[in-house]
Amino acid sequence: MDQSFRLLPEQSSEVAHQVDWLYFYLWSITGFFTLLIFVLIVYLGLKYRRRSEAMPPKVGTDMRLEVAWTIIPLVISMSIFVWGAGLYVKMSRSPSDAMEVYVVGKQWMWKVQHPSGPREINTLHVPLGRPVKLTMTSQDVIHSFYIPAFRVKQDVLPGRYSYEWFTPTKVGEYHLFCAEYCGTLHSGMIGKVFVMEQSAYQSWLSGAVQEQGPTGSAGAKLFADYGCATCHGQQAPTMAGLYGSQVKLADGTSVTADDDYLRESILNASAKIVQGYPPIMPSFRGQLSEEQVVQLIEYIKSLKVPERNY
């Protein structure tokens, strides 16, 4: 890893350069005004240093100055806002073709799961040049998934999914840090992100620690083992084509069946009852780990045809 003295982390994602440009703009403004005030203080302090006990003249305020030093900071602030907000919106919206990876954080390690099967602990291997979207949750307290070289960070929450995405632009090995204090070994909840050329990534995939085949097939097994197939497809709403669709609820409102909705339905079904169905789905809280929930969701996402009954 690059050990030379740096002022910036490596720029290894698509947005890193853009964030750094805004950062330079901010330092220019900061440097300019700090220097301005410093020079003014030194200049005025020396020019008007006390030479006698005579009292200085009256100097009232000057409306033009007051307006100027209100409006100019306002305009500069708004320029920073617009730039920062625009880039932020881009950083919040992942491309639809992003490669999905699941992350489960727990005290004090990261568990990473690729949909095609490989699992990792405290590392994340990604291919160069492809957008990657992380779907993340915590098993206990709030953590945060921070990759300085990519300039991305997002808190990882218990009870919910949170997302972050990036497109790596440089092959290499980068720090991964937990960035939300989470207890005793918070400083140890760190890892490495490996960005690899496509070919290297493919060979890594085939050699990596695998689940029994793709994550989704692990999910299919859970779907059967836990008896979901017993109801779903008959007296319970069908899973086919469910992910991403609009679901009408018993109270008349509509929700999108996203990852959070699926997770909640598994762990706390009574929170949202689908219109036309009785509220009899049991809760699987305590029976399924977050990783198993993720596997089930992967499976459900893959269901485009009516599933077979066993």
Binding site: R151, L157, G188
Partner: protein, 549 residues
């Protein structure tokens, strides 16, 4: 043969009954209702808590000299930074300037004999001391490791530390704040002397008034937030822990709704001091009096609308992020207005560079830099990268230490003659101010860099490439420590050996300089009548119309 002029000491200062020597018993101090004695009581207690917070900081900076965790164990490090934050934020920064100087000076500056509620004032101090003692007891019993921010569900379910005890101490301390705020507001409204109109008030009073508004409106919210953590932790009621059906981000909203305005509770009183110091040591009216006064109020109001900028990566929506971002830029404008007005006050002034002025000028520079780094954090795309890193730590220390603590040191030196009747040794004062300034910048500027490089906060072991900057920071901290310790010595020394100060060693125009040093127990012999605007140096007279001498 020395040519130091002996200050003119009118007979009033040699009278027996100043507030210090009117009674000497412990009971007369611990049961006092004199706002000046209460200010001194606060001075002792805030100094005590500051030293404890400082000791924790010393241990932290020593640990961080090496990338490995080798000085203390992980859990103890976590307890140390929690103690540092809790002691410094709740038991120094929030109470110090209002408790010491607000209490001591507000009644005198407006021409009153005491606060509106002297007994509630004493109760404020007791709530502060008892709260601080309880939180300190939690530290001694084994400590708490949640960070001063107590994020859930770590604090409400997972931490094994003395969370509830610490929170009880902070809760009580909150009421100290609320009652102090109440006193400031009622006193300013109802007890101004004849002729002391709102726009003749010193800016010190305006800023403390704005502070008091925040104290009263904001503190109850954090009291509730922390109580709910106790409810969840003790009785397992699901409020914040998702495993119990709660929402962890709800805590953050409740906590930051107060804790952001709280930073203005920490900085507005500091700005109050700076307005007094700049005018006195330039012997000039403040440039833009009304603008500075209204800027203080604007900071208090807008400050309540920006809390979500602490939560840009917490799970807030993108839209909420945008709203909080734009408001956060707006809240910086009144502070900029103040900095420009203070600087413009120097124009055509008659400027001297005694210790208080050095601290005031240092404040302006450091607050400018610290405040501008706030713009980095309001900028959404940059905040994603730097939030929860040392960039944030550097930002708030520039404002809290480079700002508030510098202002506190300036206030101590400026009003020392008034409070004690003695002058501190000037060259030692200047030397310490210089040492502090250098040490401070060496401690915290490298943290901006190491933060952008990616070093997260609350890490006791870090990536090796961050070491050089951490060593610089620790070296700076050792210099800063010297800058804090020296004044302790010479200020105590001055109590016995300092030159007698006289009522107005600085030739300042405020009402506090029209009474003896130290003041008599009831401040004024007869009700003063105010005839002049504040800082009217060009007339050569103070606010009572008396010639400055």
């Amino acid at each position: 043969m020395t040519t130091t002029p002996v200050p003119f000491i009118p007979a009033a200062a040699e009278r027996e009954d100043n507030y210090f020597n009117v009674a000497y018993t412990v009971k007369s101090w611990l049961l006092t209702i004199d706002h000046k004695r209460i200010g001194i009581l606060y001075m002792f207690s805030v100094t005590f808590f500051f030293l404890i917070g400082g000791a924790a900081a010393t241990a932290i900076r020593l640990e961080l000299m090496t990338p490995q965790g080798d000085l203390v164990q992980a859990e103890n490090y976590n307890k140390l930074f929690t103690m540092h934050g809790v002691m410094m934020v709740f038991f120094f920064l929030i109470p110090a300037i209002p408790g010491v100087f607000g209490n001591f000076l507000l009644p005198i500056m407006i021409g009153a004999r005491d606060m509106a509620f002297p007994k509630i004032n004493l109760m404020s101090w007791y709530l502060f001391v008892i709260g601080g003692t309880i939180s300190l007891a939690a530290m001694v019993l084994g400590g708490v490791d949640t960070g001063w921010t107590f994020y859930t569900p770590y604090s409400s379910t997972y931490s094994n530390g003395w969370v509830v005890l610490t929170l009880v101490g902070i809760f009580l301390n909150g009421f100290s704040s609320i009652f102090t705020g109440l006193n400031f507001i009622v006193t300013t409204h109802t007890m101004r002397a004849p002729g002391m109109t709102w726009f003749r008030l010193p800016l010190f009073v305006w800023s403390h008034y704005a502070t008091a508004l925040i104290m009263i409106l904001g503190t109850p919210v954090v009291a509730i937030a922390l109580s709910l953590v106790i409810v969840e932790r003790v009785w397992h009621v699901g409020i914040f822990d998702p495993a119990l059906g709660g929402d962890p981000v709800l805590f953050q909203h409740l906590f930051w709704f107060y804790s952001h305005p709280a930073v203005y509770v920490m900085v507005l009183p500091a700005m109050a001091v700076i307005s007094e110091l700049i005018t006195t040591f330039s012997r000039k009216q403040i440039f833009g009096y009304k603008f500075v006064a209204f800027a203080s109020l604007s900071i208090a109001v807008i400050g309540f609308l920006v809390w979500g900028h602490h939560m840009f990566v917490s799970g807030q929506s993108v839209y909420a992020g945008m709203i909080f971002s734009i408001l956060s830029f707006l809240v910086g404008i009144p502070s900029a207005v103040k900095v420009f007005n203070w600087t413009a006050t120097l124009y055509k002034g008659s400027i001297s560079f005694e210790t208080p002025m050095l601290y005031a000028l240092g404040f302006i520079g450091l607050f400018t830099l610290g405040g501008l780094t706030g713009l980095f954090l309001a900028a959404l795309a940059v905040d994603i990268h730097v939030t929860d890193t040392y960039f944030i730590v550097a930002h708030f220390h520039y404002i809290m230490v480079g700002g508030t603590v510098m202002a506190y040191m300036g206030a101590i030196h400026y009003w020392w003659p008034k409070i004690t009747g003695k002058m501190y040794p000037e060259w030692w004062g200047r030397f310490s101010a210089f040492v502090l300034f250098v040490g401070f910048n060496l401690t915290f500027f490298p943290q901006f860099i190491v933060g952008y490089l990616g070093m997260p906060r609350r890490y006791y072991a870090y990536a090796p490439e961050f070491q050089v900057l951490n060593v610089m920071s620790t070296a700076g901290a050792s210099i800063m420590a010297v800058g804090y310790v020296i004044p302790l010595f010479y200020l105590i020394w001055s109590l016995k050996y300092g030159l007698p100060a006289g009522p107005n060693p600085w030739k300042a125009t405020g009402l506090e300089w029209a009474v003896s040093s130290p003041p008599s127990p009831h401040n004024f012999d007869k009700t003063p009548v105010v005839v002049e605007e504040p800082y009217a140096y060009y007339t050569g007279r103070n606010q009572l119309g008396e010639p400055l001498q």
